[in-house]
């Protein structure tokens, strides 16, 4: 029966190719949208993951960096520095802003770093230096390309020109672009004291247990939220994931409906074409269940080929887009791909219902008509 299903499908290779392509593209849509959010998650936590600070301090009630606001008064940082086990604390300021060059503008997060600080700035510098003084800025090399600027050029931020003194890597993502400026300058812009911070990066003394230190800091600093690096990164990832879950679900439903209709149209048409042959099989004693298996077989073969093609195209699209537009990282999770298989199987089964019922109502006498 499966051989018959295969023959029916491949009888018209062009139609089969178009149909498989349609199914594949529906799957590409599903995988790409999920991949965009997965990529956004990675970019959103790049700063937290790459800074060498096992413990992070932030305002009480804050547990995210992305799309968030936090304020730590200078005296709290001073208090934190006195805690036994703390080697040093680096405070950074964090705000949003538009990086402008001519008519081009990119919304990003602006991080104010102390030029003397060892950490808190860009973790991968490809050109120039990374300690911005007043009216200086470090941006991602890909962002510079997008804005058409180079080292030594000026970028406008908050209506002030900033000279690009360094180009970094890994800071340019959709909705997560980072730029580094002088902390003193940013504090003036944000109307806070220069020693205040949005987030503080804590490095423990060598050999000190990080878990114990974090717990102790939390109990001694009730006005702050103390988070370990992995926990902080996970919190931001979870935020992005929760933002994406409903939109992914909505798009998936639409894409599955399209996939269902494409499979249904293909199989239904193939069934109509072979009406006489099915009638002949019925006349020879094949029951409806066996013929339904043929129909289902065609649907499953189309779906399987569509899935294989779709996965391949999705990975290809993801690679191509990320190459052309590095800020749009599309990460396709193999586990997520596997999760789509049972759903596609159900969709395929549904798509086969109409053609199967057509065959069930077929009069075997059709085999003998002229």
């Amino acid at each position: 029966m499966l051989k018959l299903a295969w023959r029916n499908l491949t009888n018209e290779p062009t139609r089969m190719a178009i149909s498989v392509t349609g199914i594949a593209l529906a799957l590409v849509l599903i995988l790409v949208i999920a991949g965009i959010f997965a990529g956004s998650e990675e970019f959103a936590v790049a700063y937290i993951k790459n800074e060498p600070a096992p413990i992070w301090l932030m305002q009480s009630g804050v547990s995210n960096m992305h799309m968030s606001s936090s304020y730590i008064a200078p005296e709290l940082i001073t208090e934190a520095e006195q805690i036994v086990g703390v080697k040093d604390i680096t405070g950074v300021l964090y705000s949003g802003g538009n990086l402008e060059s001519g008519e081009d503008s990119i919304l990003g997060y602006i991080i104010g770093v102390d030029p003397q600080a060892e950490i808190g700035g860009p973790w991968k510098l490809v050109e120039g230096r990374q300690n911005p003084e007043r009216d200086e800025i470090v941006i991602d090399a890909e962002l510079a390309k997008r804005l058409g600027v180079e080292l030594g050029d000026n970028l406008s931020l908050y209506d002030q020109d900033h000279e690009i003194i360094g180009l970094s890597r890994g800071n340019f993502g959709i909705g997560s672009s980072l730029a580094f400026v002088n902390k003193q300058t940013l504090s003036e812009w944000m109307a806070v004291q220069p020693d205040a911070a949005s987030f503080a990066l804590v490095r423990p003394e060598v050999g000190f247990d990080v878990d114990g230190l974090a717990a102790r800091m939390q109990s001694e600093l009730p006005d702050l939220n103390v988070m370990q690096q992995a926990e902080f990164a996970a919190s931001d990832k979870e935020l992005i994931r929760q933002m994406g879950v409903d939109i992914i679900r909505a798009m998936n439903i639409i894409a599955y409906i399209v996939g269902l209709l494409v499979i249904g149209l293909t199989i239904y048409t193939a069934t109509l074409e072979r009406a006489r042959e099915y009638g002949m099989l019925k006349a020879l004693g094949a029951n409806n269940a066996r013929l339904a298996i043929v129909v289902l077989g065609q649907a499953l073969i189309s779906a399987a080929l569509g899935i294989l093609l779709g996965v391949g195209v999705a990975y290809g699209v993801a690679t191509l887009i990320t190459k052309v537009s590095p800020d749009m990282l599309i990460l396709i999770d193999p586990a997520y791909v596997l999760n789509q298989v049972p759903i596609m199987a159900v969709v395929t089964g549904l798509a086969a219902l109409l053609p199967a019922s057509r065959i069930a109502n077929l009069d075997p006498a059709i085999a003998f008509k002229a």
């Binding site: 305002q59 109307a191 149209l265 293909t266």
Partner: protein
Amino acid sequence: MTVPIARRNAFFQKGKLVLSVSSIGASLAMILLLMGFREGLYSALTAYVDNLDVDLVATQSGNEGVVSANSVLPGDIHTELEELAGAREAGHIAVAGVIFTVDEDKSPIVLVGYEPDSGLGDPWNLGEGGYLEQDNEILLDTWLAQRSRIRIGDTVEVLGREFEVVGLTRGTASWMAPYAFVTLPAAQEALGLVDSVSYHLLRLNDGANLDAAKEAIETQYPNVKAIQPDQIADTDRRAIAAVMDRPINVLLFVAVIIGVAVMALTSYTSIMDRLREYGLLKAVGAKPLRLNVVVLQESLLNSFLGLIIGVALAYSSAALIMAQWPQFNVTILPDSVWKIAVLGLIMTLLAAILPIRRLDRIDVLDVFKA
């Protein structure tokens, strides 16, 4: 008398017609929904500014958005700004992006601190409950409250401070960041804005010269920009578009290719079904151009019917999506429908290439085969 071959071909098999037209409709609906999602996202984001009902907003120079920027201005220039502008009413607000967390659920929100007595900057549509009276009260968006299972009278935490929910607003939902409202002093305290605000709001006298008011303010305070609310909305839209347009365009591109594939499948299937008949027409002298026109006519008819279904499906799906997921504002503009119609026409022409080429290769001798 000419025979309407295209129409007869299309309507001969009702089941196939329904599937074909539904597939095309679903593909076009998918494109319309993506466009509607993009449009709705921007209008939801700028809802607060669009409903501000003031003539001028004084903002920090270089920070001319609400959602996309972090403006900070001294609070004590309020009276002077009012005098310079010749305003009859003035108020100020504090605005910042924060993360609203309830149990494990996280939502980015735009927190607005306004002065309840001023009548400026307050929510424009209170669905349930009352307005703010105390500093420990908060107004939440209705969708956000439902999602977090919060009711009026409940206590929530924002930036480490507790607030009692006294009202639920409408028109403030957004997938990216719904709005929440507290009093200005509460926002200043939570955000660490000592004697600072984000924006000054000005209502001028009837017939006042807007440009003169702007110039007076900006001359006196070079770091202040006096702009109209629609300019702020425009800045926000452009900033978010720079982030969101590219991933949405990737999805739109894939959706368009799906649509072309579905249309090609429909047209090709129709040709293959009628291969002998077309061969017969060729045998009795029909020119290739005439046959191509028939194919095009049938494709256009299917696409036209698909467009009608697609538009209806898009509007009803948009209503369903917004009912199920109120944080999504799917706005399908009449302009988008026209664009889809034109796009559908182009897609139909592209999709007809393959079937037309197949038609050109028909051997008239096929007509006489058993």
